[in-house]
């Protein structure tokens, strides 16, 4: 059990270090990258199986007993997130074989990818809130470098905005951690559970809101999302696909973890706040998407909008709603990454991602169009695709909580998502290309395989989730039950203490 919990951190570290030795041997680097991600995915699946069968797994690093050392904790939520992270890592590393140019590979693109995955997996596994901050920084450092790598003008502009806002979020997070330690004298999340419930409520609420703001910037919630559409469309497509799939979700993960485990005393206040934020995030995000003209910017605004759904379940704070959130996260990570990957091939085929300069993709690449169509419909929640089930669970949960406003918002935003996707479809895939455009490129077979393989697998997975919605819902429900019962978590980490 011990190696299973450490492997998701060690494997990316090992492969990153190893590929640094072969910085100028492209072939070896590429091989190491794909092999590393594959092994990470295998390890993650074993971890998920282990947690599913035997409950929460805990490792005390350095054998220091729980509140004193750093604990790694894997419950179902962590394990699911790690599996998804590994899957996205593998897809993107295969896709990168076709889309990343030689100078970027020579500058350490593949090792950075692995460092990013290490930070993400570490954040999912840690049971210590200061350690969570450290993993966030590992992840951020790698993401800064990935975003700026290549140094094109637009990329640098995007990086500056991204870096500043991320640093401010980290500062707030660290301040909150400092005050939390001053208040309780511990940083171990399991140990915090008991101590926070004995602390003065107004201080705990202040801290809760500080964490909400810090993680809210990270996960691009209303009104703190403006950095995301200003930066996510600037790096190479595989990088923005990975960011879209993983980075904001780490913020969402941290929010769900902190607000189910630590700050659940005053749910009437904190979780209603989250619910309001979720509704506003959905609406402003999708309205932004409708107004855009750049393919990747439309997708960026859709990330924001759909983050609202993921914390909607947290705001409602019922078992069904939280299960809906988990289901939605699983669905959304897969679908949004697919859509970003599609945008990369579109750029290769059309030479641009500006909607007015595009057209005729359907005739040019029917299979690509099909992949886009399935993913876009799934994002919008057209039955019977996976997004529909996610929204159905969330809407049902909000109806049974008698919160009709948020249910109506969720439904309306689903409709607007469909509208924003149909704009892309109508202009890029159906329309005719503007006159005087340079002839379009055709992909060779050698390029097509790494481009299409990850997209095809991810789309099949979306369809798989749609067909097997029952088992996925069972998984999400068990995850939600585990999240809503902190005593099991505390017992697993601290042992059988009273």
């Amino acid at each position: 059990m011990k190696p299973l919990l450490i492997l998701p951190i060690l494997l990316p570290l090992g492969f990153a270090a190893l590929s640094l030795f072969f910085l100028h041997m492209r072939r070896v680097q590429r091989l190491l990258s794909v092999v590393g991600m594959t092994s990470l995915l295998v390890a993650a699946l074993f971890l998920l199986q282990f947690v599913w069968r035997q409950g929460i797994g805990v490792v005390q690093i350095g054998d220091w007993p729980a509140p004193f050392g750093i604990s790694l904790v894997a419950d179902l939520f962590s394990a699911i997130m790690i599996v998804l992270a590994a899957l996205m890592g593998l897809s993107v590393s295969i896709y990168s074989l076709a889309d990343i140019d030689a100078p970027r590979e020579g500058a350490g693109y593949h090792p950075l990818l692995h460092f990013l995955l290490m930070g993400v997996c570490g954040a999912f596994l840690t049971g210590d809130i200061f350690n969570l901050y450290v993993w966030f920084e590992v992840m951020l450092m790698a993401s800064f470098a990935l975003m700026a790598l290549g140094g094109r003008r637009l990329q640098l502009e995007g990086s500056v905005k991204y870096v500043i806002l991320s640093l401010i979020a980290s500062s707030l997070f660290l301040s909150a951690v400092g005050i939390l330690y001053g208040l309780t004298g511990t940083l171990n999340m399991a140990d915090l559970v008991g101590r926070l419930s004995a602390s003065p409520v107004h201080l705990v609420n202040t801290l809760a809101v500080l964490f909400l703001i810090a993680f809210g910037i990270k996960s691009a919630l209303f009104p703190l999302f403006f950095w995301l559409p200003a930066s996510y469309h600037t790096p190479p497509v595989p990088v923005s696909a990975l960011f879209a799939g993983l980075l904001t979700k780490v913020g969402i993960y941290a929010l769900i973890r902190v607000f189910t485990l630590l700050f659940n005393q005053e749910a009437g206040y904190t979780h209603s706040l989250i619910l309001i934020v979720s509704g506003l995030t959905m609406i402003t995000g999708i309205l932004g998407a409708v107004a855009q003209n750049d393919f990747r910017r439309i997708l960026s605004f859709n990330i924001i909008s759909h983050s609202g759904y993921m914390i909607m379940g947290l705001g409602l704070f019922t078992p069904l709603a939280l299960a809906g959130s988990v289901f939605y996260i699983i669905h959304h990570i897969i679908v949004i990454t697919t859509l970003f990957l599609v945008s990369g091939v579109v750029r290769r085929l059309q030479g641009s991602l500006q909607l007015p300069e595009m057209g005729g993709l359907y005739a040019q690449a029917p299979w690509l169009s099909l992949i886009f169509l399935v993913a876009a419909f799934s994002l919008a929640g057209v039955p019977p695709l996976s997004g529909f089930w996610g929204k159905l669970i969330l809407v049902q949960a909000s109806l049974s909580a008698e919160n009709y406003l948020i249910a109506a918002t969720a439904l309306m935003v689903g409709l607007l998502t469909l509208y924003s996707m149909s704009i892309v479809w109508g202009k890029a895939f159906w329309g005719t290309p503007p006159d005087g455009k340079a002839p379009v490129r055709i992909l060779t077979i050698r390029e097509s395989v790494p481009y299409y393989l990850p997209m095809a697998v991810l789309v099949l997975l979306t369809i798989g989730i749609s067909v097997a919605a029952g088992p996925v819902l069972t998984l999400s429900t068990r995850t939600a039950d585990q999240l809503l019962d902190p005593t099991a978590y505390v017992r697993a980490v601290l042992g059988e203490k009273p």
Binding site: G151, E157, S159, G178, G182, L183, N293, Q354
Partner: protein, 115 residues
């Protein structure tokens, strides 16, 4: 001592935020550095100050003396210093590269551009 450090921390936070709001990239970096130091002091002060009782176990003794200073915040601050140092170094390089490429020295002139 607590009050004094609280005032200093607040002052640093204020100055840091003020500098963050400037339009000049260099001032923004100064702001980030001030903010990082403010947070270090915040962790230090919030965890409680102990004067002249270092967390050392005297020779021969098995357990540390009563009421010694808490060593954990110091470890946290050390980690935070290292991280903020690294991030600051990266930010400086990124900024110098960016504003060399863009040939501006003002955030307001960095307009949203599409490809």
């Amino acid at each position: 001592m607590n009050v004094l450090l609280a005032i200093v921390t607040g002052g640093l936070f204020g100055a840091g935020v003020f500098m963050l709001l400037r339009r000049n990239p260099f001032r923004l970096i100064v702001g980030l550095a001030l903010l990082a130091n403010a947070i270090n002091l915040l962790i230090f002060t919030a965890a409680g100050l102990t004067r002249a009782r270092p967390p050392l176990i005297p020779t021969g003794a098995e357990i540390p003396p009563e009421n010694m200073a808490d060593p954990l915040p110091q470890a946290l601050i050390l980690t935070a210093i290292v991280i903020s140092f690294g991030l600051l170094a990266f930010t400086i390089v990124l900024f110098s590269r960016t504003f060399e490429t863009l040939k501006v020295n003002d955030f307001a002139e960095m307009k949203e551009r599409d490809e």
